[in-house]
Symmetry: C2
Subunit: 476 residues, 2 copies
């Protein structure tokens, strides 16, 4: 029997939580270890009296367990207050350790924001940052990554698997290229560490406990012996000087115990969830028209799938799914406070509107997935109806030439694409539709619509009336 | 009835823990709140689905409760992963926010290491750091502090009360001087916040939950509206950009709940503990010869007292007290890995050898203190006997002049002082003893011994045989 997720209540009446990639519900082992170590692990592990010695024993044991799961030596691993802090400390320390080599930092374009924000910070301080592009599946090309490394590269960063679309990166091959170039590779393993160790000869690794069912407040940073590393920020005697501040010990104990526990279940549970995700990947395009399932269908995280629905705004879609009891996330611009679509979807060049990420916590019952597939088509159809989306593909093509201009200035995603879809049938094959839009998502979604619809995306040009003019030629 | 500390077992057989200033045992309310919010508060508070909304409500409520206890607006307060991180973020953000004013940072000489390490970091980056000295009680002089402020001062830092000797600082007066000079004042309130809000017109405040019986993993940083503040490090959308990384929510909830709980008990409990500490302050010098009780006897934390015992090494003393069941800490060099005595005792100019800090957790029963007073004299006498310390003050003075040289090179604290005490009776009044020593503690402890014994400390001079020659003239 798979264990129950969430609050442990039985299935009837329980609400399916499908956002494990943001934060997984606390694993029962984490809860148990946390409780046990509240009594034994509250004292300062640096002290020599009995309470301190007990705390030190717990800390040492947690470090050994975590190191074993990571595949490193205990003295190579420190606990940080979060995955984000592990990434920040890892990048700044590795860059400073190789300052004499140069300031080059190479990252993939689809890294987690913690990596990209650290890169922005490095660039603002005068460092040289190179972003390696990804293909339409979200993966970097190892040869392309290798090309970005040069004599001035101090550090390279690559995630083990993408947090938004689930695509696994070719870490082992990139690590080999980095070794050949003499560049340390930092792997952000936040999304994958619960499923297994990261293959390949990496130099630094960061992860986050609440992604595998551990508690919040614990990240980990491994730095292989021999990697030049100079911790930044004020000195501190704790955690080898790499993570200042009093150790969050009960949470660290819970993090290590739950990592061990999820690893013991990983082989069986990943196979089971992989099957559920395959079902979603296959059924969603059959059940919902005008959908693009994104990310690599095979080389991917077992529990995560992302798709985008044309003519739907993400915020309403999430709201309606929440009303139906499903907690999912979205990379659509319409649901974020930044008004720009997810940088991951943008880098992949795929549709961002109506984007839904489903990430199943360990133990998700198959019935939850079936119910999601039952509910989704009606929810999407309802949102489309309210937005006045075109129900069918554009009308049969007419001969001749001509052009139309659609003014969607001031209109938010998905309206510009809806307006385009409505009029494409009004121009003859060979004719063009020009969409004027100032919503950032249009730059991504209009070309993605053309790809999905078999129309030709001509390009963008400045618009005299503000925003950007996106030109589409009807070819089908 | 005061609540029981530690594991909640009854008094018989329970081991008294007297190091609350390092980490207080978890308050029952913290434990209860932590457990409750493990179920409700594991999701991402930035998400809009129900689990996220629940987490957001908990976070907002915790922020309001903490802000009320601090005496600031909720939007002025963020949660950090530790008190150390709150101090680091507060200092770096405030310095950067006032970069145009200058690089001056003024700190007291007895701040917590987190403040002093941030100051070292600032100095290493080219900043100007001024340390304000303290008197023999450990307090700064407000006028002296004011003198250190100038037109290029970007930030001043002063603790609310000292973590090693308990002395309260004149925060309100210093804050007034800072206001007059237009300089923001950051108060490290780690040791006092559980006892009450910090008086005075401070600009920034940092604290640490595990000092008041909250869990590890939570600090707080308050930055008053109007204070120029520029968070350093990579950008992050959480906690107003001032504390990157996923919020440690169950621990935050527990921290806020326990702060409220300890405050409700603070008036009664501080009066009770103050009485117990007064008993220690009065009885220890009566029970143990050659002891110096340090720190202000009145303007002090209610629960903390520190004393130093001549001719005793701190490590053995702590070990023996631990064997008797008492967990205390020490600022003696002999117990730290740095081989230097506590910077606090050094700044105060008081004895560091045989140093013991007793800090009583809330709920400490009077019997524990009585038992400590029963046990201490025998423990100190035993350590002294093993070290061959002089049992009585130096023999009656002889007339005439003369001098002696004592070679204590390579000998660790407290041996140099013991050797001095052994031979002082062998020189006549007016004669000198020169102690050759290379242990860092000697620089503090030989003058302190002279002060306690009524002998004249002449000064130090370089020694041809290595180390330092400390010259003492017999006057009594």
């Amino acid at each position: 029997m798979p264990r129950r997720v969430g609050d442990g209540r039985p299935y009837r009446g329980r609400m399916p939580y499908f956002d494990a990639a943001s934060a997984a519900p606390l694993h029962p082992v984490a809860r148990q270890a946390l409780l046990a170590s509240l009594d034994e692990g509250w004292a300062d592990p640096a002290r020599l009296y009995r309470e301190g010695r007990r705390a030190r024993l717990l800390l040492d044991a947690a470090r050994e367990a975590a190191a074993e799961a990571v595949g490193c030596r205990p003295d190579e691993l420190v606990f940080t207050p979060s995955g984000t802090r592990a990434v920040h400390a890892g990048i700044s320390g590795a860059l400073a350790g190789r300052r004499r080599v140069g300031t080059g930092l190479v990252v993939s374009a689809v890294e987690h924001s913690s990596v990209l924000h650290a890169a922005e910070r490095h660039a603002a301080a005068g460092g040289a940052v190179t972003e390696v592009p990804v293909g339409r599946s979200g993966a970097v090309d190892p040869e392309g990554f290798a090309t970005a490394l040069d004599a001035g590269t101090a550090l390279a960063c690559l995630q083990s698997a993408n947090h938004e679309v689930g695509t696994e990166q070719p870490v082992a091959e990139v690590a080999e290229a980095c070794r050949a170039a003499g560049v340390p590779l930092l792997v952000d393993a936040a999304q994958s560490l619960g499923w297994g160790p990261v293959e390949g000869d990496w130099s630094l690794l960061a992860a986050s406990a609440h992604k595998w069912g551990g508690p919040a407040g614990v990240g980990l940073l491994a730095v292989r012996k021999g990697v030049r590393f100079a911790p930044q920020g004020p000195a501190d005697e704790r955690e080898s000087g790499r993570a200042p501040g009093f150790e969050n010990l009960p949470a660290i104990v819970a993090a290590a115990a739950s990592l061990r526990a999820v690893r013991a279940e990983a082989a069986a549970e990943s196979a089971r969830l992989r099957g559920l995700v395959d079902r979603i990947r296959a059924r969603v395009p059959e059940l919902v028209p005008d959908v693009e399932v994104v990310g690599d269908p095979v080389a991917r995280l077992p529990h995560l799938v992302t798709f985008s629905c044309l003519y739907v705004d993400g915020e309403t879609l999430l709201h309606e799914l929440d009303r139906e009891g499903f907690s999912v996330s979205s990379g659509s611009s319409c649901t974020s406070s930044t008004l720009t679509p997810s940088h991951v979807l943008r880098a992949m060049g795929v549709l961002s509107e109506g984007n839904v990420r489903v990430s199943l916590p360990a133990g998700t019952p198959a019935e939850d997935v079936d119910r999601f597939l039952d509910v989704l088509p009606g929810v999407v159809a309802g949102v489309r109806e309210r937005l006045g989306a075109p129900a069918t593909p554009a009308a049969a093509p007419a001969a001749g030439s001509g052009s139309l201009v659609v003014d969607a200035l001031g209109r938010r995603c998905p309206i510009p694409v809806i307006e385009l879809a409505k009029v494409i049938g009004d121009v003859p094959v060979g004719g063009t539709v020009t969409v004027l839009a100032d919503d950032a998502a249009a730059r991504l979604d209009i070309p993605a619509w053309c790809e999905m619809r078999g129309q030709e995306y001509v390009g963008e040009e400045p618009s005299e009336r503000g925003g950007v003019a996106y030109v589409v030629r009807r070819v089908a």
